[in-house]
Amino acid sequence: MTTVDESVAAALQLEAIRRRRRLVKALGWGSLALAVLWFTAREIGLNPFALVQGADHMWDFLTRMFPPDLSYILFLGRATVETIQIAVWGTLLAVVFSIPLSLLAARNTTPLIRIPWFNEHWERLGLHLLVFHVTRMFLNVLRGINELIFALIFVSAVGLGPFAGVLAIAVHATGMLSKFCGEEIEGVDRGQVEAMQATGASKMQVILFAVIPQAIPAFISYSIFRFDVSIRSATVLGLVGAGGLGFSLIKTLKLFRYHETATCILVIFLLVWATDWVCSKWRAKVI
């Protein structure tokens, strides 16, 4: 029979060992992290002193921007409207494309490829999910490439203007939206699906009546979120000539009219902030 004191001493000893082990582990990971940070900082020339030295440049830049030339707002009306229009159509096209694509990108709704006498091996290789895998890969390509890169390519393919911007946003947002919704569809409640199957419904009917209704709220909510993001992207598409406020921004910057640049930034801030506010209210209403 051990006494209380003995067991307390034993526990304390154990605690000391565990703490030492934890310390070693923390030191190991910590020094690894520090090494990575130090190395990468050196590679990209990260230098806090440069920021301090650059402070007068920044200050110079800022003072040349202030006060913003508020009369320039009148000239930004068209660009602001265009930014919104780009985001609206970019998102809308993405929503339309995403409906079929997200169904193809979910394991439980994607069409399965079956070969009658070869099925067993086929499935073991996962080839019956071929459509799913190809769709996911395609979506990853759309997701992986920034909308500005798409905009750059589309601008050189179809010329300057907002049309390239719309396509760029549409393509990138399709990738984002479809992947998210595909995952949402895969996560639906199995019970409701089984109940629908038990009534003798066909696969299509099960998808329409048990799967889609469950995924709809998330789909709408994410689409609204995407619109919010699209507005933010649309404000910079102009940097590569794809329309919207970014074009005014870069134009005034190149002409050294910094007071007007400041106005552009102000309008961008207000637009993004207002969209964020509207979208969060809208999303709260939908959910």
Binding site: V4, S7, V8, A11, L12, L14, E15, R18
Partner: protein
């Protein structure tokens, strides 16, 4: 040990919901007091007024003859002397059992050592002793969310004990536990009051536990004390008063 003088609490302004009305109770050192009442009677508010998790609207609370005020430094000292046990245990789930118990020692330190989650050897000794008292020392290094409800509550008691408090407030400590485990937890609490001379105030809504464990019972109904006496004197009449209040008072119930 603890004296409440005309404590009242109204939520949401002067015309709000009255949770406590002129409650005066005196609790002696080492006493095991059960506050009995239906849910919504104001039991939780009463406890939270004592350690000022809730600010009372009026009245005074004395701990050991000194008034508990909301002034930061004094309040920290007062809270250190008052351990609290909750219905939902309120352990920090991702920390180890030992770290949870050690968090009861925080009021003894400034935040500098806490910044590194560091405690000294004496703290650890106290924590492990407290765990031993509730027979949980064998699980000291597990994460708190791996424990069952009864075990979590025992750890929560150990956390309160690690404060080396004069008083423990137990707010419905067994409401989320099944009867067997509930009796075990109440037994621990009662033992603590007896052996360590810690005053225990325990909220309950079940009459049978109150009869079984309490030395003294305070019956609370709609924020008013309707009974104060030894548990032997809990007659059906009085229970009627606690649980089924008279109709004229029924409409201002929160």
């Amino acid at each position: 040990m603890i004296t409440l003088e005309n404590v009242s609490k109204t939520y949401g302004g002067t015309s709000g919901i009255v949770a406590l009305r002129d409650v005066s109770i005196h609790v002696k050192e080492g006493e095991f007091l059960v506050i009995l009442g239906p849910s919504g009677a104001g039991k939780s508010t009463l406890m939270r007024c004592i350690n000022r998790l809730v600010e009372p609207t009026s009245g005074r609370i004395l701990l050991d003859g000194r008034e508990v005020t909301s002034r930061r430094r004094q309040l920290r000292a007062a809270r250190r002397d008052i351990g609290m046990v909750f219905q939902q245990f309120n352990l920090v789930k991702r920390l180890s059992v030992l770290m949870n118990v050690l968090s009861g020692r925080l009021a003894y330190h400034t935040f500098w050592p806490s910044l590194l989650y560091k405690f000294d050897q004496d703290d650890k000794r106290v924590a492990i002793e407290c765990l031993t008292r509730v027979n949980m020392e064998h699980k000291a290094f597990q994460r708190a969310d791996t424990l069952s409800g009864g075990e979590q509550q025992r750890v929560a008691i150990a956390r309160a004990l690690a404060q080396e408090p004069k008083v423990i407030l137990a707010d419905e400590p067994v409401a989320s536990l099944d009867p067997k485990i509930a009796r075990q937890v109440l037994t621990y609490l009662k033992q603590i009051a007896g052996e360590l001379g810690i005053t225990v105030l325990c909220n309950l809504h079940q009459v049978e536990y109150a009869r079984e464990y309490a030395e003294r019972v305070v019956g609370l109904s709609q924020g008013t004390v309707v009974f104060d006496g030894p548990s032997g004197k809990l007659t059906d009449d009085i229970l009627q008063q606690i649980y089924y209040r008279d109709p004229e008072a029924a409409d201002d119930d929160g």
